[in-house]
Structures are given as structure tokens and as C-alpha cells.
Symmetry: C2
Subunit: 553 residues, 2 copies
Amino acid sequence: MKATLLLTLSALVAGSVHAHLWPIPQTVSLGEGTAFVARNLVLQTNCRHDALQDTIRRYTRLLALGLFQPPTKYNVTSAPTPTTTLRRVTVTVNTCTNVTHPALGDDESYTLRVGEPAANTSANIEAASVWGALRGIETLSQLTYNNLNGDLVVGQLPVSISDKPAYPHRGLLLDTARNFFPVDDIRRTLDAMAYNKFNVFHWHIVDAQSWPVESRFLPALAIRGAYSAAMTYSHDDVAGIIEYARLRGIRVIPEFDMPGHTSVVSNVLPEIMTCVNSQPRWDLDAAEPPSGQLNPLLPRTYEFVEAVVNEYAPLFPDQFFHTGSDEVNTHCWETTPSIRQYLNSTGLTSSDLLATFVNTTQGYLAANRKTGMIWEEAILDFNLTLPQDSVVQVWRSAENVQKVVAKGHRVLANSYEYWYLDCGHGGWLGNNPTGNSWCDPFKHWQRVYSYDPVANITSSAARDLVIGGDVCLWTEQVDTTNLDRTLWPRAAAAAEVLWSGKDANGQPRSAKEALVRIQEQRFRLVSRGIMAEPLQPLWCARNPGMCDLPPPS
Amino acid sequence: MKATLLLTLSALVAGSVHAHLWPIPQTVSLGEGTAFVARNLVLQTNCRHDALQDTIRRYTRLLALGLFQPPTKYNVTSAPTPTTTLRRVTVTVNTCTNVTHPALGDDESYTLRVGEPAANTSANIEAASVWGALRGIETLSQLTYNNLNGDLVVGQLPVSISDKPAYPHRGLLLDTARNFFPVDDIRRTLDAMAYNKFNVFHWHIVDAQSWPVESRFLPALAIRGAYSAAMTYSHDDVAGIIEYARLRGIRVIPEFDMPGHTSVVSNVLPEIMTCVNSQPRWDLDAAEPPSGQLNPLLPRTYEFVEAVVNEYAPLFPDQFFHTGSDEVNTHCWETTPSIRQYLNSTGLTSSDLLATFVNTTQGYLAANRKTGMIWEEAILDFNLTLPQDSVVQVWRSAENVQKVVAKGHRVLANSYEYWYLDCGHGGWLGNNPTGNSWCDPFKHWQRVYSYDPVANITSSAARDLVIGGDVCLWTEQVDTTNLDRTLWPRAAAAAEVLWSGKDANGQPRSAKEALVRIQEQRFRLVSRGIMAEPLQPLWCARNPGMCDLPPPS
């Protein structure tokens, strides 16, 4: 009996001593002790911040449910019965301010210690800020599991963890315009983000196909531009989502993509639009149907843009406001007679038009005391000059990260070749006999995991400009029916890159080692109501290392 | 107003006059009239067969719910208000026998007529058999929809449809062994199958990883081989699933895959197994881990196989019983010392061993009055002689269909390159840096739709041997979290090939035309509780033809 136990434990340990945790902490020391966790476990804190109080309430409930059974424990036929019980967790926040909202660069570090199993086994989380305390509580929750007898147990005592994120911006982008997602879907996504230590919800809220958010300055934008009245986020819905995120230490950055990706505006203001829904050659005017771009020559256009910024900038408390500017199509503008005539008569180019548009938009942001975020094309294809504090989001290649850094801008790095989770589902255009898509193939979790936001960037000053990235879900082929499965657990692979860093001890982290942990994280997410898809047959999840690619002959 | 209406109707009609129906009937004539459908619509029939009575109950409820709103109707701003109401549907079965179970080759033809809108608007379904009546009722249900005022409407009157299937075996294979699916998942899948006129559930019930079905002759098979007690189908569960399928005109064919894909048997009878869970070079002995094959030399092995057939053949009433025999690994047997010695001393080969195994198994089937189904390798790779009435299932290429037909066997044709819905999700093996899989890429619905089971088979006698095929879902990366969205709506594309035939008027059916209909079918499935994934942004579903691949320059 004892021999079996030792064998099983060492088999588990062989995979990793950190088998339970995702993303993996920066430094961690684990033992082999276990204790029961009291169903009425008390988490006490010195800090009355509402996000921490709410988090303690949520995790107290989550732990009391105790639903998570690690697949790797299934084959452990005779685990030792704990002799002690963990009854109290102390959460100490060193600077318990009344800062309401999380912000870029907040200190999210924490330490977590759980003592040896003993009559007075205790757990202590210490964090510089409230936001670090939230991260520490999630880590603690991941040390607990339901053993096969239905008891909640905390394992691998004594535990000593010291942790902090590799990147300050750890984002997930969701497009709610190609298809709509009910508020509950977004809430559930925010829950799953917190379970993976993401801290930014990049809300790509409108696009060419729909305008699903209430507008007060121009109500018809949503009335005629949302897919239906039921498929509209009211200001209250938005505020509720921001609050839900805030209580989980997650910032919400909205994106209002302009001047391209705006076909939907033509429902209300066709007079400020160009090349609306060109058919059948929409491809000349846009990256996808329906085409349509704001006309950069009309005062009415700028009134519209200013009104958009003025309405939504105050609604979203975050410092940053994303104005898109990706995939601007010069053919569209240059074949619009009034614009062509203007360009001919002035000798200006489409780049000049975009420069005017973007500079003017940045002015509206400045008037609202917002810092701009923008996709890479503005700076790399059109060579625009942006305010130096602008954050540039790179999606087309790792190389482009280097180019933007060379211009001294902060960067979000998320190459589509690694972090576009919608890819690999074939093309969504009709009459497409091959069924192929530009961004095939599917981004396997190991592919997601292998992404290095700072690839080939060597100087530490340049690396510091890369503040993180967003794992992205564009939703041409996703709606409420398949949201969770498309996001999870693959987004978790990006979360570990962003929190733990791509490398450990100067080497890329091992996907073989990570598999055991991301499997557990997948089953943990399912136990928490997130419909994350399976990575392998359950047999493989229960038998780590036995479903690996064989070594070469 | 009138001009707008005509334009809109003609825009709809331009896509297809059969916009609502999936799979498309063999001959169909539709008008432009509409009538309300009474919420208390009566379906009356001359036939008291329980499957028909149950179907009438189910569809009466479904129609009363009236949840389906076709996306293409959204832009019709002023549809005419019907002036009459359909209150009664008459279902006439010409041969109302008391045959309980559907069987291969049953007459599933039907005609459906709905008159001009008039005070006495009536609908009539006439079918040779009960099973045809079920298909006709599904078609009738697809003519109905919820208009935007919340009324249930039947459209395109008068309707005259004459319909029958192109292939008698229209199957869907679900693997319940790599990962487990609760009974409710299977029921929901059977519902969705009926909505698409599938008529065979190929239940790949056990495999190397688990044995999720109760065994009475050897209870430990499930007790130790199922993933858990809760993840086990009892005999009662199986009988309930068969009954649920029967009431929908769906046959259930079980597959007990032998002699390969049997590693799980080693939990109970290691003495009849060879090469169990070879590590790390499982690839030498099996197509996927864990390896393991029945030992074809031992009397105890045959006792086991006979007991399996004798237990499960009576449980499944269908004429056919699938015994797998795919991916038999000769290295496994040839490196097992006792087998190697036997082969050396007798001069026999692994093919001879498999021949003995398969022939003996066929004898057990015959004793149970079952007709065998078997995967193609037995006949194509090992050149075995099978009973002439055996059905051979081809999965590796279209070419192999021709080869099997040349041997005079009936064939199920389902090349993995078209009809394996699990493909394209990357590899599931651990430590696989590329993340690739042998069966990438993803099988897009248009790819599924382009499959021709009788490709390059010209003689009509040879074509008749191709009795149909199974769209297949192997579940290494699928479980209850992502079942619906992996199956649907792509499986529906296969359903139309099998029911309507690949060609119309001697030409392959147009995927451009089909897109409007499969989109509607997708939304219809969602309205009926099947979480089918979206194919496009909702904007595209509402604007047919506007999201097509542009024509070449």
C-alpha cells in the first residue's frame, strides 16, 4: 500500500511540483502535506476595499462548493487522510487605499504562505495592493480540490509563493459586433479571465456589421444599428459590466474603430460615409463585407467622431480609449469622387487624410483626458506621428513589434499567427469552394503558449515598452453558442505567457510540463461553470505523459 | 410600399425558391402565399403506430412554441398579413403496419401538399410507411416560422413536394469512449439528427480509453473501464436511447471495435491482451495511446469476443452490428513472443491471424442473426474474405470506395478528408510543438457539402452498392462542453448530401445556393435547443449573397 502511494506521488511530482497552479507563480515552493479546508473557511482582511470584500465573498462561496476534482487525482487510490483543517486565511494589504479602479501598472504582487499541516494550520496572503490580494486569493483557491471522498482539501503544504506579473497589460479582446453576446456571456468571460489572472477586457464593441451599444447623442445608431433591441448594451449594461470587471481587478478598455469598420453608421448618417456596402467587389474597399469608411473631409464627420468620444469616454473610466484605425482602405477614399477631386486639387494623399483624421481624433481623446490606443497600421503603414504616450497594438507579425518599439511607443503584442483564437475554422465567406481562410490554421494551445511578445527584442529599455498583449476573439463564426469553447482553455495559455513570462530560467517554458497544469486548469474552469473544451481524452488527463508525441525512432 | 415588397420578395427568391428547407426535397413547387398556423394545430392520421403518434405529439408542441425566426425575414419590413389560418394537417400512411423498428431500405418517401391560402386551407402528408410520414412532418415544420409579430406562419403556399432519400443509410457516428457524453447529449443529438433526416446513429460505444457501457457477463469491464460509475450507460440507458431513436425513425448500430482499440480490456483481462500501453513508443503498436490488442491465439480471447457479441447483439435490435477491426497493428502481434513463435513455427502471417479473428467473430454475429459491418482495412489491407452481405465502411479515401465496390460489397462511404468533423482542431498529443494533426485542416461546411459518396463510380449497379455513409465525430477533443457546436450545422451538410444527393440535374449542388438554407437550418436548430455554431456574422445571415467571396478581378 505504502509503495503504491509513493510511486503514485512521485509519478505526479515527476511532471511538476507545481501541478496545481495556472498561471504558474514566479517562485514557488511546495511540500507534500495536506489539510482539510473547513467548509466555513474564513478569509479575513485588514482592508475594507469593496473589490476585496466582494472577492472574499465570491471565493468563500466557490470554496464551499468545492466542485473541482483534479483528473490526475483519479488514479491515486490511497491518498493519506489529512489530520488537520485549515479554518482561516489572513489577507493583508499593505496599502489599502480607496482607489476604486485598477489601472495600468498597479502593483499586483503578492506572497502566499500556507503552513505545515498542524492544529493551527494557517494561510497568509500579503499584497502591496488590493489587486495583488485578488491574485493571491485565486492562487490559494487553486491549491484546493475536492478529493474523491467529497472533502475539500488543500494540498502540497507547506506552500510558499512569491508572485507578480511579467506584463502589466494582460488582455482579452472580445468582438461584440460581428455577432452579439448577452451580458451574461461577458460576465462569465470576466469570471474566467480572473481565474487566469487577466486584467484587461478589450471590448471591441462596434464594427461594420452592428452597433450594439446605446447611443444618447444619436439613439438611432443602436436602434437601427444593433441587431435588435434585445441585442443592445444600454449604458447601464456597460456600467454593470465595468463594475463586474472592477470587482475582479479587470480594466475595461473600449474600442470604437474608426474611420474604417464603420459601415453600420450608414444606417443613420449615410452622408458622412464613403463606399458603403460595395457589391460584389467589396474586397476593393474593405477587408470584409460590408465595406464603408467615414469621409475624412466633412465637418459633419468630425462632429460625429467627437460626439462618439464625448459620449463613451466618460462611460468607461479607464485611462485608455482605443480608436481602432486598422485596415483603412485607400481605394475606398480615392474612388469617392469628392475625395478624389480634393486629393487631385491639393496634391495631398490618403495618408494625409488619415493623419488629419487620427490627429483630430487624438485631440478629442485629449480633451477627455484619455490616452489613445490604436492598431499598428496607423504608424507602420501610414507613418503617422502619434502622441508619444499612445499605445500601439500590433497584430500582423512579431517583426512589427520591433518596428513600433523602435519608434519609442508602448506596444501591445498579439500576432494573429499565435493569439487569434477564431482562426482555423475555415473561411466564413459564402461561395468559397475551398473553405479556406487567411488566418488558418487553428491556433492550438501549444501554439498560443509558444508566443513571445518580446521576441528578438534584446535591450531592456525596448522590452519595457512591450506592456503586454491581448489574446483576441473576433466573432464572425462565434456567438453565444460557442463562446466558452472557443476561448477556453486556449486563452489560458496566453494568460500564462503574460503573467508568468514566456521563459523560465532563460529557457522557454516546456509545453510538456505545462500540459498537466493546463489540463487541470481546464477541468477547474469547467467546475466553475466555464464550458472550456477538452484538450485530450479523459484517459490522457488522468495519465499525464502517456499521451505525448513519441520520441523519434 | 408595394414596390418595396416586390423587390424584397424577389431578392429572397433570387437565392432560391426553396429557401426554407433542409435537406432540400427531390421535387418541390412553392408559391408566395402565407397563412397563419393555429397554435392548436391538429395533426390527424389514419395510423396508430406509436412512432407516428409520438412524432405528432412532439411536433405539435414544437409548432406551438413557434420560436424560429428566419434571419432572412428580418429585412422584410412589410410582409402581407395572412388572411387565413391552417388548422389541420392530415397524415396518411398507406401501409400502416405494426413494424416496430426502422430498418435499412425502408420506404421513407412522402408527398406534402399545402393548398392556396383559403378559408379551408389544408395540409396533407402522404407516405408509404410510418417512417416517410415522420420525414414529411419535419418538412412541414420547416415551412413554418415565427414572423416578426410573434405569429406562427406557414409560407410559400401552395406547396407541392414529392420527396425520398438518395441513400438508405444516412448516419452519424459518435464516439463515446475517448470522452463520455451523458444520455441527454445523445438524446439531443438524436433530435438534431431527425431535424436533418438522418436515420442511423452509429454508436462507437467503446474504445481503448474507456468502456462506458454496463456489462452483465463481465461487470468489471465497466466498473473498471468506464471513466466513473456516473459515466456509464446501463442496459436501461441503452434501451432508452434506442427507443428515443426509434420514435424518430433512427436506427442504432453499435460498434464494438476489435481486436485493436481494446486497451481498456486489460483492466480486467490482461491475459488476453498484447502490447498494452506501450510507452513511450506507443506509436509502434497503435494509432493512438493507449496501445493494446486482443491476442488472437487464445481460446479465452474468443470466449470474450463471443460473450461481447452475445451480450450486446440482443440489446441492439438493428440487423447490423459493427465489429470495427480498423487500424489493426501487426507490429504489436509480431513482437509478442508467444505470437511471434507461433508465426515462426507455422509460417502463418498476421493477416492469417486477423482472418481467423474476423471469421470467428462473423460466426458469432451469424449465430445472433446479425449482419456484420466492418472498417475497410480488413478487406483492403488484409485482403480478408467476408460474408458477402457484410457492409464495409470506408474512411481513408474516395478511391477505396471504388475498390470495395469492385469486390461486390455494400459500402458506407465517409472519407475522413470530408466527413471527420473532429479534424482541424490541432493535435491532441502532448509535447507536440507544432500542434499539428494528421487530419488537419478543419472540415468546413462547404467541404463537407462537396463530398460525393459515389465519386468516380459510374455503373448503376456499383452505385447501388454504396448505401450511404456516416458523418463522423471522434471525440479526443470533444465532450459535453463542445458537442453541439462541433457537430452542427456541419453535420447537416452531410445530411443533405445523403438525403438529397450530391447532384441536382446532373450538376453538383451549389454551395452558394445552399448557404441561405443551411444558415436558416442553423438558426432553426438553435431555436430547437441545439447549440449549432454560427457560420457568419448575423449581418450576413440576414443579407444573403452580400458576404460571398468576390468574383475574380
